[in-house]
């Protein structure tokens, strides 16, 4: 069975402060992990995937197989980063989403 856990439902940070969204997973095979983001009144969209090892909008995420984690980080949060963030794992063409973390960046 595949499972994704996001322990924080809400996260509030000040503009310019670092932000880290936690994600842990359980999966018997080799995982493919993603972060999806949903800005207010917009559709759900891919932010980044662990395979590409990119930095998107200043966000990075490193897959740690030992800790079964895929935490999302950004060193300096911006107000436009306020959104709902979902960690997701793919198995057999299906995405399993975590419960989501709502991030609010305050001025």
């Amino acid at each position: 069975a595949q499972r994704v856990t996001q322990p924080e439902k809400l996260l509030s940070v000040f503009k310019g402060a670092p932000v880290e969204l936690k994600c842990n997973y359980s999966y018997s095979g080799s995982p493919e992990l993603f972060w999806y983001v949903q800005y207010s009144r917009q559709r759900l969209q891919l932010l980044l995937r662990h395979i590409s090892r990119e930095s998107i909008k200043g966000f990075t995420a490193d897959l740690n197989k030992g800790e079964t984690s895929f935490h999302l980080k950004k060193p300096f949060a911006q107000e436009e980063d306020s959104a709902m963030y979902y960690c997701a794992l793919v198995g057999n063409y299906k995405l399993s989403f975590g419960a989501g973390t709502t991030v609010t960046v305050r001025a």
Binding site: R43, Q45, Y93
Partner: protein, 115 residues
Amino acid sequence: DAMVIQNPRYQVTQFGKPVTLSCSQTLNHNVMYWYQQKSSQAPKLLFHYYDKDFNNEADTPDNFQSRRPNTSFCFLDIRSPGLGDAAMYLCATSRASGGSYNEQFFGPGTRLTVL
């Protein structure tokens, strides 16, 4: 622009009255998904089509059915909507082949209200 389109964006139905939600895509993706998303919850996969093959999730109620008449269109039928079926319904597509997985592209969703 290539995209995933859902119609209508808002749908109101009566308790027990069948309703159909539509999804179309111009991405020519071979996999299409339907998700249910209730307020403040993660999207929950109902079923997906891999080409013409229908894959139902084990916990998807029988009340929910789907049709995919061609590559571009996929429909979600709710035979007898209950109050608990009020939610946002998301359609998504992806290109998958030979065990590889690509990102899912989501539509804007249809918000269903059941009176």
